[in-house]
């Protein structure tokens, strides 16, 4: 699921620990021995990644299903 999966609403969130706005940056996704990179909203300091509801229940669920059926 390589690509850009951040949305403008995501960037309204701040990292509570680092007290800084989220940015869009690369993140690693792993599932069942598969590894992918994607651009996701995250904290520029600690790297805390936001997975939005839309992403979790949409594209991500779809990819999980494909990998489980491989």
């Amino acid at each position: 699921m390589n690509g850009d999966y951040s949305s403008p609403q995501d960037l309204a969130w701040k990292c509570r620990k680092c007290n800084i706005n989220l940015i869009v940056g690369p993140a690693t996704l792993t599932y069942m021995g598969n590894r992918m990179t994607a651009n996701l909203s995250q904290c520029p300091i600690c790297g805390y990644v936001l997975i939005s509801e839309e992403l979790a229940l949409g594209k991500m669920a779809e990819v999980e299903q494909v990998l489980e059926d491989k």
């Binding site: 309204a12 509570r16 996704l29 805390y48």
Partner: protein, 762 residues
């Protein structure tokens, strides 16, 4: 499953067997499709169907004597379809000229003697196969017997026009041939690679080893039948083709002529309809009459199982197809396993087997495929996870327990209420247990836990065996008492895996030993409709026990059409609900819709599933141990996933406290975990979201507790909401919440299974 097993399974489902009409037709016209097109008024399409199988449809379609008619299934509900008249109606409407397709020309040459329908058919078939054909006729015209028919039935110009097709195929025609001359025949035998002697002509000279073939209609007694004649020509053509290709003349030809078909088509319940009579008895049907007559065709097929199972219907096929899909799924090396969903969605209820004329058991196919997938490590991890976690919960300290009756050192019986009843109606467990202690002497022990059916349904054999041997040990520790089971799934599991134990359903015990004396509540005169749990399919005694109880309670009841051994699953069985929640909803909706009356059932899982679908449903213990605080048990809502676990925790806690005086355990230990102290405010909408997404309150508490103790979260300045993720086991839960006056307000929650790591500043 290997190729051979697949073949056996595929053959067991007879859905693809031909209908009676087609099997009885000497040339196996696809009558069902033909009549289907006629019913739609698609005369050109119908004509194409004829053309595929029938030589000279313009001729044969007018004069076919339709021996298939006697076999038509419609006779079971009215009269046979007038297939012959429909053929006539089809070919007498004008049709566009179709190009005749033929294979490339071959070297070999064949002589055909005679020009009746058999010879014409042989010429037609063999020329289309590419052979060079010469047709020898003793008379001055082709098709003398055809031309002799009444003009109104078979106009001469139609015969002439149809025979022209042979010209188009390059058939050479020799009239006035001395075919009765021995020397002439010897000449043909020398000059051609094979020879066909038509009907009525010197057929006794047949010598197939030497390439002389002949009409064999005398053997079939079909001399007067045009379609038999055509069939004779066709079979001879096949033999000649095989002779010239030097392959076996006879292999695989059992179905050349009419044969018995195994196709089953149910006709009870079909409204009988008489034949549509043509106004014009000579010319036959008008188009409109033909459409009406064709409309009576049953379009014979089986699909008995698909008619009663929403699951089988959902995947768009039938067991024969599914067997192949499941086989392919197993043999796949690379790429996506397309049938995983199919395999995991079956509720394993066994209704298919019960209704199938050939006893096809889809549930066996599915459970074996699941076991296979688990063994090969190919089972999708998410398919059954939620149910297996719930099973683990039931078998944990939180719920599982085993005790002799208070004040007893031994047990003659033990009550095993199961996880679903305890989750759904813990108070009923207490009342039933109290009553059992009254009516059974010698000590009635109690075992709480899950029968581990979910592991079995998930195909996890090893795990099932391990967990179940734990139950066996508990039973042995009680001194092998008789086991009393409230749940029919537990009953099925214990019966199969603990055959050394004497088991009884709670309903049998109550039927034999009596109901509570003070049945003060009068039950309504309004009948309830009995729904038998699918796991009682093969337990007629249990089903009868329940009906006896209803009678004693003075509760009138009605039966479902699909009841007893044909009962439907509520969607709980086989973990269908886990693997395919949407389908499980369809399944329970279907069941709910079978009667408008309130349902009465004796499985807590069925009861709750029905209730969740909006159906009013009463559990039998609601009648036996009426609860004054619940005057309308039919309206009781299904407790949600979290409440189902809480109910089990509380049940164990209260029983230990009230009966065994072991002190209140619940608040003391299990709530000792910090996360369980977190107080949540949850609106009904969010509650529904949690239900739909199967997210449990303790997991939410863990996520918030993690965020609050580590500070790891996101913050939304505009709303003041927090958003945070935590992975208590395999799934990551996201929770959106805010701080409220007391505790936290939950705004949203969802989960995913992928693991994510951000890199921070790129």
């Amino acid at each position: 499953m290997d190729q051979k097993e697949l073949r056996l399974l595929e053959n067991q489902c007879i859905q693809e067997e031909p209908p009676e009409c087609m099997a009885a037709c000497p040339i196996h016209l696809d009558v069902r499709v033909f009549v289907g097109q006629m019913a739609r008024g698609a005369f050109h399409e119908a004509w194409k169907v004829l053309r595929k199988t029938m030589p000279f449809p313009g001729i044969l379609g007018r004069i076919c004597d339709a021996p298939c008619r006697d076999h038509c299934k419609r006779t079971k509900a009215g009269q046979a379809i007038e297939i012959g008249l429909l053929e006539r109606a089809c070919v007498t409407t004008s049709v566009p000229k179709q190009r005749i397709l033929a294979l490339p020309k071959k070297e070999k040459r064949i002589a055909i003697v005679g020009s009746d329908l058999d010879s014409l058919t042989a010429a037609w078939d063999l020329s289309r196969k590419g052979y060079g054909i010469t047709l020898f006729e003793s008379g001055e015209q082709l098709g003398r017997s055809l031309l002799a028919m009444p003009e109104a039935i078979l106009p001469r110009d139609v015969v002439a026009k149809e025979i022209l097709d042979l010209d188009e195929l390059g058939v050479e025609i020799r009239l006035n041939s001395p075919i009765h001359d021995k020397f002439f025949l010897a000449y043909l035998h020398r000059g051609f690679d094979a020879l066909y002697l038509g009907q009525g002509d010197i057929a006794e000279l047949r010598d197939e080893d030497n390439g002389i073939f002949a009409c064999g209609s005398s053997q079939h007694g079909g001399a007067g039948s045009p379609v038999w004649q055509a069939a004779e020509g066709r079979w001879a053509a096949t033999s000649m083709d095989r002779y010239l290709q030097k392959v076996s003349l006879t292999a695989g030809r059992e179905k050349d002529g009419p044969y018995p078909t195994k196709l089953y088509t149910r006709t009870d319940g079909v409204i009988p309809l008489p034949t549509v009579q043509p106004l014009d008895q000579v010319q036959g049907y008008t188009q409109d009459e033909a459409i009406r007559e064709a409309g009576r065709c049953l379009q014979c097929q089986c699909l008995e199982c698909v008619k009663v199972c929403a699951y089988l219907k959902h995947f768009g096929g039938y067991p024969k197809k599914y067997a192949r899909e499941i086989y392919n799924n197993d043999s796949i090396v690379m790429g996506s396993r397309q049938a995983n969903k199919l395999i995991n969605s079956c509720s394993l209820c066994g209704l298919c087997e019960a209704v199938c004329p050939e006893d096809f058991a889809m549930q066996t196919l599915c459970i074996e495929a699941r076991r296979d997938m688990v063994q090969k490590g190919k089972m999708p991890p998410s398919a059954h996870e939620f149910a297996l976690l719930d099973m683990a919960f039931s078998n944990s300290e939180q719920f599982a327990m085993v005790r002799h009756e208070p004040g007893h050192k031994a047990s003659t019986s033990v009550f095993f209420p199961g996880c679903q009843l305890s989750a759904s109606a813990p108070a009923m467990v207490k009342r039933a247990y109290a009553h059992l202690r009254q009516i059974i002497p010698g000590g009635v022990g109690l075992m709480l836990g899950c029968c581990n059916a979910p592991a079995s349904w998930a195909g996890q054999e090893d795990r099932f065996q391990t967990e179940f041997s734990g139950l066996r040990d508990q039973w042995i520790s009680l001194g092998r008492p008789d086991i009393i089971l409230a749940c029919s799934t537990c009953y099925q599991i214990f019966q199969t895996y603990l055959p050394e134990a004497k088991i009884k359903s709670l309903w049998q015990v109550l039927d034999e030993k009596g109901l509570p004396g003070d049945l003060s509540v009068k039950h309504g005169a309004v009948p309830l409709t009995v729904h038998d749990p699918c796991t009682t399919r093969h337990e007629p005694e249990t089903q009868q026990n329940v009906r006896n109880l209803l009678r004693r309670l003075g509760q009138p009841y009605e039966e479902l059409e699909l009841g007893r051994n044909h009962t439907e699953c509520c969607g709980f069985g086989g973990l269908m609900q886990n693997a395919n929640p949407d389908l499980a909803k369809t399944v329970v909706q279907r069941l709910s819709g079978q009667s408008s009356a309130d349902y009465l059932t004796y499985c807590a899982g069925c009861r709750d599933n029905l209730a969740a679908s909006g159906k009013r449903a009463v559990y039998i213990l609601d009648l036996i141990f009426p609860d004054t605080a619940m005057p309308d048990p039919g309206s009781r809502k299904r407790p949600g996933w979290s409440l189902r676990q809480e109910n089990r925790i509380r049940l164990k806690d209260e029983l230990l406290n009230e009966l065994w005086r072991e002190g209140s355990r619940k608040m003391a230990d299990t709530r000792a975990d910090d996360h369980e102290k977190i107080i949540l405010n949850i609106s009904p909408e969010v509650q529904q979201t949690l239900e739909d997404r199967r997210i449990l309150i303790p997991d939410i508490q863990k996520v918030i507790h993690h965020a609050e103790s580590t500070g790891e979260a996101l913050f939304h300045p505009a709303t003041g909401h927090y958003m945070t993720a935590f992975k208590p086991y395999k799934a990551t839960f996201w929770v959106e919440y805010s701080v409220s006056a007391c505790g936290f307000t939950l705004h949203n929650a969802y989960s995913h299974r992928m693991e994510v790591a951000g890199k921070g500043q790129p």
